[in-house]
Symmetry: C2
Subunit: 320 residues, 2 copies
Amino acid sequence: MTAPRNASNPQHSLILALDYGGTKHTVGVLAVGARDWLAHERVSSPPGADARYDQVTVIKLAHDLLARTQGQLVAVGVSFGGPVDSAKGVVRLSHHVPGWENTPLRDQLQAEFGVPATVDNDANVAALGEWRFGAGQGCASLLYVTVSTGIGGGWVLNGKVYSGADGMAGEIGHIVVRPGGAECVCGKHGCLEVEACGRAIARKMRERLASAGRHRDTAEPIMGESVARAAQQGDPLAQEVMDEVARNLGTGLGGAINLMNPERIVLGGGVTKSGERWWRILRETARYHALPQMRVDIQPAALGDDAPLWGAVALAEPLL
Amino acid sequence: MTAPRNASNPQHSLILALDYGGTKHTVGVLAVGARDWLAHERVSSPPGADARYDQVTVIKLAHDLLARTQGQLVAVGVSFGGPVDSAKGVVRLSHHVPGWENTPLRDQLQAEFGVPATVDNDANVAALGEWRFGAGQGCASLLYVTVSTGIGGGWVLNGKVYSGADGMAGEIGHIVVRPGGAECVCGKHGCLEVEACGRAIARKMRERLASAGRHRDTAEPIMGESVARAAQQGDPLAQEVMDEVARNLGTGLGGAINLMNPERIVLGGGVTKSGERWWRILRETARYHALPQMRVDIQPAALGDDAPLWGAVALAEPLL
């Protein structure tokens, strides 16, 4: 991230990058070819915000940032937190914010800013971001998986987002890794998501504490993050839980490797901060599951929460 | 398969297609752009044949067929039954025939026939064949799975074989669908292959007969094919077995759909002749496992045993 930054040059061609999240939105402005933001700001949505509210907020923030930045806007790239028909630039819906159903977001933004725009869903865009600017650079085939409250993923094959026939590829969170396991939001039992995500960690810890007859020491609710921290501090029950979710994730990744033999897998999201032991167990499990002729290269993401925003930049680049 | 066949035209440009199998090899000669073989012959290897024996046999047969065919050979396409480094045209090994380790098959054939050659492994090549000439025509993303003695697969994405970082993509047979299930040749337990292939059918039938205390009526060994036939004739134990393997296959395919959202899945191999009930159960199970936004389009292969040979033609076409 050390390319020159010439914010004072009025001849700059600018890319506007937008990341519509469930509760937070981020807007960034970048000079074409640069690796530093000329402007970058995150806003939260209040509870109860709908699509119209979020859209007004994001567009106003974008205009504010562009007004503070010298240069000529040439393209808009967009990451959206929900299913998108990327070929048409239409948001199908948001699972978190009402009112997004069938919104022609690309056309709205093109009309608003007068330049070409392109839209895809956040997992695909984050994958593209890590491939273009982060931990997946140079990989001919990359699976990006975010392990957070839930588990999602995206593919970059031969330098392009691969989103499948219905724009839904990468849903590794809904591969069953423990038949008969916990019930998932999708209605099945034992999906990777419900057996390895942050919520799964908290649930499994509560179950273990209950069956061990242990009372909780504090009124603090049990969260995935606190369990991961307790495991790193040596709490044996917490370690059991973290080992189990690491094995479940490794099982899912091993299956993905057998099916697609990707050059690399990049993992992002809060759960990936769970320490060396979690990483070791998931890599060992993936190695066990993958056929021996296939590489198992699983790396932490490099771009953190900004992966979708950097991906939005990469998405916009072909428009130039 | 109705394009004109002008075997008498000496100006024909010819493609030579070779399919090296474990015990059988097939050679075909086709005029460029045609859909009928000008010559087509299958030979068996005797037990104990090695790579050298098979190579001499196949090359002799190819020269014989070419001598009987008028026209000018312009390219050779090859399907090989084992792992191949397709970029280098080098066979890594055969699991069935000794002596193939690190054979530069492409270079050997180019030297032998004096035209460009291209080599890939049989599952990839069969996938390409079904995509170009069979049940996967027009699909931007196709998963081909052969359900036979074992279970293998291959991908065609955007009109090209996708073979992954180590040339091994498509190994859906080694995704675990029943943790703690039967031991697989790969050393794991409960892989799709060992829970759904032809051998699995025979094994599960033997186990059920044994635990039901039933003696077998004949000295005929129990084979997957006979179990499938008994199921179609209403034998309840055989139906149980076929239903179970269909569910296991549907579980694996549903996982592949979640991960890759392919436009279509094409199934080949002997087990796919198991009748409507088997097809219905596997489709229903795949539909149950796939997220509702994703299509579940699972079709029988169209090219039968010749899928790799037709794929070899498709592999050779870009060489023209």
